[in-house]
């Protein structure tokens, strides 16, 4: 104890601030990523993911769909698909004319993580996920 006190005597006030800062910074670096892994399933953290092939066309925070209707154009091999998101839900509004069946238009609205709107011919997929670091996938 005496030695500790003696050691501390050698540090100036600014040394102590610096040491505390380094320790704090190290702790943040260690624990911050683990914090991202914490589970929380909150409506405010839902994100609409729109993909064309492997490319993410847009990620829309669900909260934004309550502010105003979001219309997104996603280009695929057959043409442009139009996606509509409003009031906490999303659907494929319009598939390209060249899409023979337009199955994804018939899927209708989705509003929660799980179901996926899939347009195989035009390679567009739309789903809802929770915030980053949450689930890796949903079986449905």
């Amino acid at each position: 104890m005496v030695n500790t006190v003696k050691i501390l005597d050698y540090f100036t006030f600014y040394d102590k601030i610096l040491i505390a800062g380094i320790v704090l910074f190290s702790l943040i670096i260690i624990f911050a990523p683990l914090g991202f892994m914490a589970e929380n399933y909150d409506e405010d953290e839902l994100i609409i993911v729109i993909k064309s092939g492997s490319k993410t066309v847009k990620r829309i925070p669900m909260v934004k769909t309550y502010e105003k209707t979001q219309l997104v154009e996603a280009a695929g091999p057959l043409g442009i698909s139009i996606i509509e998101a409003e009031q906490g839900r999303v659907r494929l509004l319009e598939a390209p004319e060249e899409d023979p069946q337009k199955i994804c238009e018939k899927t209708g609205w989705i509003s929660e993580p799980g179901p996926v709107i899939i347009c195989v011919p035009n390679q567009i997929s739309i789903w809802i996920e929770t915030s980053e670091g949450d689930l890796d996938g949903i079986t449905w």
Partner: protein
């Protein structure tokens, strides 16, 4: 000998610098996005593959995806020149099949007997009758129509033989097979196997909700797979989440494909024994080592009484089930072992 105070100060500062360096390395290890992910479309669904990044990953995954797409095409009865089309058009003649299909048929036949016929790949004529085939219109068939088609739904009439190291399959005249209930599972198994053989250690494959993982995530934690809860007036349970480092999970639900006539819902999950859609349950989720088995059982157990389904599962090693009914849910004994937590 005691060190002078100044040296102690320097040693402590060096220690702190080392600490910060270690922290930085840890940060890179844990939080850097070290995955490579591909989303592709085949088997009428979206397929996601996620593995650890390495320089050749793009080329390797493209190659694997091409193999998988070719295999999947062979199992598609709507592809004019697929192996399954050839079998379905053979009208009672035997057709040579590849080893993969032979393995699928043999495994499926074992389960056909175990499940007392609640999963049957000769269901194709029934699916067509209800309009669940490709490009067809959903209709509610008459009892007479169902009875006449049910005669063709009988796996016991399917003959698989091996002659000179070659496999042959023979259906009864009029019979047709549909591998929709297992093809995704098989392809997911193939994907994981090919990725493992290529040396990947952190593998996640998702084909339309049929998910299989191999190895932990890069950060050393388990993959977390949520089970979709069917929409209902009142949630029966909080969302179960499976925590996996290996194995597969698949779900069959009445919300996947269905049509409505006069307010009654008819799902695509048709009981091969009765000829009518099963409508007692909302969803069945199965965990198994193989995605093929998870896929098959999730469909088959949907046809059964929950107590019977759980009894069957208890006899199969490494298989667990979570069943959601209209007003309650059931789970097998060890299901909670995989369950990470409950979420509201």
């Amino acid at each position: 000998m005691e060190l002078p105070g100044r040296w102690k100060k320097i040693i402590i500062l060096i220690f702190l610098v080392v600490l910060i360096l270690i922290s930085s390395l840890y940060y890179n290890q844990v939080s850097k996005s070290d995955y490579y992910e591909v989303t592709t479309y085949f088997m009428n669904t979206v397929v996601q593959i996620k593995v650890e990044y390495r320089s050749e990953v793009k080329a390797e995954l493209n190659q694997i995806i091409n193999i998988l797409k070719n295999q999947a095409e062979q199992f598609d009865r709507y592809q004019a020149f697929s192996l399954v089309s050839k079998i379905n058009q053979a009208e009672g003649k035997k057709v040579e099949i590849n080893k993969s299909l032979a393995e699928i048929i043999l495994t499926t036949k074992q389960y056909y007997y175990l499940l007392n016929g609640s999963f049957d790949i000769t269901i194709a004529p029934l699916l067509d009758l209800w309009g669940f085939g490709k490009d067809s219109r959903n209709t509610v068939p008459s009892q007479a129509e169902i009875r006449s088609v049910l005669e063709l739904v009988n796996f016991e009439q399917v003959e698989i033989t091996k002659e000179n190291k070659k496999y042959f399959l023979k259906l009864a005249p009029g019979q047709k097979i549909d591998l929709g209930g297992i093809a995704k599972g098989f392809i997911v198994d193939q994907a994981v196997q090919l990725l493992e053989e290529a040396g990947y250690q952190h593998v996640f494959v998702n084909a339309g909700g049929n998910i299989k993982v191999s190895g932990k995530k890069i950060d050393g934690t388990s993959w977390q797979i949520g089970i979709r809860l069917p929409k209902g007036e009142q949630p029966l349970t909080s969302q179960p989440v499976l925590k996996l480092t290996r194995g597969a999970v698949a779900t069959s639900g009445d919300y996947e494909r269905y049509f409505e006539v006069d307010g009654k819902k008819y799902s695509h999950l048709i009981n091969p024994k009765t000829g009518y859609p099963a409508d007692e349950l909302r969803s069945v989720t199965v965990y198994a080592e193989q995605a093929l088995i998870a896929d098959l059982l999730s469909t088959a157990l949907f046809m059964l009484e929950p107590a019977r389904a759980i009894e069957i599962v208890s006899k199969i090693e490494g298989v667990e089930v979570f069943i959601i009914g209209k007003d309650r849910f059931w789970k097998s004994n060890k299901f909670d072992y995989f369950s990470a937590k409950k979420r509201e």
